[in-house]
């Protein structure tokens, strides 16, 4: 296996290029599919390398676009739809929920809809109420859709390939801040099976479940706690729909402590579903389950208003303390070390280099 250090953006691009090479039936649709941004570089150069027939530039017509993708796909095309924000797809909710998700069902399996709808989730830089939602729990409430949210470059590549070659409609959510992450990625093209969870760190004390950028924060916390002999079973919920909780049930049976972090609102979020299932399995938890995530109000624009809105590393640490009852002295030491190591960055940027959006 040959792995190199590349960015999430490059990983997506590699998945797209390799998939086009593998399958003649695949093409891309989108607004600005070959423009100077090309979805922040993630599909840059597709037209140049593979020709005009592989990229269809679209009018600003999301409802029509996704309908057209579905109609093309039931005949055997594979379509990768690219949308700069999840909110733009809301015009196409009817197509996604009534057609993409139900075509197989109402044709008794005769039709399939092998489309992937890539959508970017925004956060920070004052994106505000209509450019900062993630909605993964909404898509996950619909049978017939698959919902994929990679957190690391390796997942981005392997899960995008898996999504493209999956015969079902896949909602593929990419956090804008994830695009900047770097990591080791296999150069080879491989079609892996889509899984609900990837285990990130192993441990026996507590089960921690998060996804997307929240996983990165959890990883930092988990690594820190390990030094204090608190080992965490950390899972990345990278496919919330369909949801297979076997691994989680096994983990919680062992740890008896569980914390979930939703990317979207806590209310009716993935955490609610996961914890209900844990309770149905009669696992005797040693402390009440804890759900983190967004409070139940829209995403405000001002950096003053998003204070206390997104769960932070400290919030995660406090929740773990509450669950495990870590002795006060030890916890204050942990917190001190955490605060020392985490830079004091503005609340609305992923790193100092980030200057404004697209």
């Amino acid at each position: 296996m040959f792995k190199r250090n590349i960015s999430f953006t490059e990983a997506i691009r590699e998945a797209v290029f390799q998939s086009i090479k593998k399958d003649k039936k695949l093409f891309l649709m989108g607004e600005g599919v070959d423009d100077p941004s090309s979805m922040w570089g993630t599909i840059k150069g597709v037209k140049k390398k593979f020709g005009k027939s592989k990229t269809i530039e679209m009018p600003v017509s999301e409802n029509g676009m996704i309908g057209v993708a579905i109609g093309s796909a039931i005949n055997g095309s594979k379509v990768l739809v690219n949308l700069q924000r999840v909110e733009f797809a809301l015009y196409a909710f009817e197509q996604i929920i009534n057609n993409a998700a139900k075509t197989s069902y109402i044709s008794r399996g005769k039709h399939s809809v092998p489309i992937v709808i890539r959508m970017v989730i925004g956060r920070g830089w004052g994106q505000g109420p209509e450019h900062g939602q993630s909605l993964e729990n909404i898509f996950s409430a619909i049978p017939g859709l698959k919902v994929v949210i990679p957190a690391f470059p390796e997942e981005a590549k392997s899960m995008l390939i898996a999504s493209i070659f999956d015969p079902n409609p896949v909602i593929f959510l990419e956090h804008r801040w994830s695009h900047f992450t770097r990591g080791k990625v296999d150069k080879k093209f491989k079609i892996k099976k889509l899984k609900s969870f990837n285990k990130i760190t192993s441990g026996s004390k507590l089960t921690l479940i998060a996804n997307s950028v929240n996983v990165l924060e959890c990883l930092r916390v988990s690594k820190l706690l390990k030094k204090y002999n608190i080992d965490i079973d950390l899972f990345n919920l990278c496919m919330p729909n369909p949801l297979d909780l076997t691994e989680i049930i096994r983990s919680v049976k062992k740890t008896k402590h569980v914390i979930t972090i939703d990317l979207s609102h806590i209310r009716l979020g993935m955490g609610s579903e996961i914890i209900s299932t844990i309770l149905e399995n009669r696992i005797n938890l040693k402390s009440p389950p804890i759900r983190l995530g967004l409070p139940f109000h829209p995403v405000p624009s001002s950096r003053g208003l998003v204070k206390n809105f997104y769960p932070t590393g400290q919030d995660i640490l406090y929740s773990i303390q509450k669950s495990l009852k870590i002795p006060k002295v030890k916890f204050s030491q942990i917190l001190k070390e955490y605060n020392l190591k985490s830079e004091k960055l503005p609340i609305d940027v992923p790193d100092p280099y980030f200057k404004g959006p697209f």
């Binding site: 017509s61 505000g128 409070p295 109000h297 001002s302 003053g304 959006p357």
Partner: protein
């Protein structure tokens, strides 16, 4: 005529100077939200909106600064909003793409393409059902005509004879994509006539033409309670979103850029004034006064406080 010209120029220059000051100061990192500047398109806003009454209602999209200012929206509140401060026109929850000022009839700006179309049509329905002597104007870009909701609303507005003006600013682009790649041509008459809505195309960079043509149109819409479609051809100077130029990306033909710069709406209005014997000295005086006023509002916005996070959970329900 002279008084009118001066009024129009004041509005144009105010908008231009505000936008250029945003552009100049953005890199200081205090305006922390996306901005879609109206530089180059000012006359489309000023020329039409100067003919509206305060009670007439305006709706807009992501590129709403010029519309807000032309309608008389409070500048300090606009800037405070862009700075994410507590004196913002919507308290900091919206940022630059959600400007509104109820006190002057600037009802709402919605940054999802064409999304305000339905609300604007509903506003016109309300005006008609209640026999109000008001009209509604929805400002929209060329790309908004590609969304289904536009056709639904145009049909409905025509069918029910609603007092609404579809004011479409055609700047030839949606982000980096030319209209040639998105529509069969850039003559929007076809859309209007499909629903028997009267249509007029205006040079959106000539404030006097916009003003004169829309004065008649607005009177007609007010009197006859019928929709109208106005196409204003214009050009955006800056990048689609953000404070800078992006001509190095070469998505626009450089001759095209030069052509539109030679048609600059501010220079054009200045020439008009000179033709009408308003001299350079007088113009400079007008500009200086505006600059002092605008700079002061920027200072206010900079020192305004950030809102308390507790405000973020209010007003979810009434």
């Amino acid at each position: 005529m002279n008084n009118n010209l001066i009024k129009l120029y004041k509005s144009l220059y105010l908008t231009r100077f505000v936008e250029e000051t945003i552009s100049k100061n953005y890199s200081k990192g205090q305006m922390r939200c996306p901005v879609h500047l109206s530089i180059g398109q000012e006359a489309c806003a000023t020329g039409l909106i100067e003919n509206l009454k305060k009670t007439d209602k305006l709706f807009s999209n992501h590129r709403c600064h010029a519309h807000y200012l032309a309608k008389g929206g409070n500048l300090r509140k606009m800037l405070s909003e862009i700075y994410g401060k507590n004196n913002g026109c919507v308290g900091g929850v919206g940022g630059s793409m959600h400007l509104q000022d109820q006190s002057v009839g600037m009802v709402s700006s919605i940054p999802i393409v064409s999304s305000a179309m339905g609300m604007a049509t509903g506003n016109a329905l309300y005006q008609k059902r209640n026999n109000l002597n008001e009209i509604t104007v929805i400002y929209c870009g060329d790309a908004s005509l590609e969304e289904g909701i536009f056709f639904e609303c145009a049909n409905f507005a025509s069918l029910h004879s609603l007092p609404i003006i579809f004011a479409c600013e055609n700047n030839l682009f949606s982000v980096y994509t030319n209209i040639k790649e998105r529509q069969i041509d850039s003559n929007f008459k076809k859309y209007a006539s499909a629903f028997k809505i009267p249509y007029k195309k205006i040079d959106g960079n000539r404030v006097d033409e916009v003003y004169k043509s829309t004065k008649k149109i607005i009177n007609l819409v007010r009197k006859k309670r019928k929709p109208y479609f106005v196409q204003m051809d214009t050009y955006r100077y800056k990048e689609h979103c953000g404070p800078s130029d992006d001509d190095h990306l070469k998505y626009r033909n450089s001759n095209e850029v030069k052509f539109w710069q030679s048609k600059d709406p501010i220079s054009y209005a200045k020439k008009l004034m000179k033709k009408n014997n308003i001299n350079e000295k007088k113009i400079k005086k007008i500009e200086a006064k505006i600059e002092i006023f605008v700079n002061k509002q920027f200072k206010h916005a900079e020192i305004d406080k950030l809102p308390n996070y507790k405000e973020a959970s209010k007003h979810i329900y009434v």
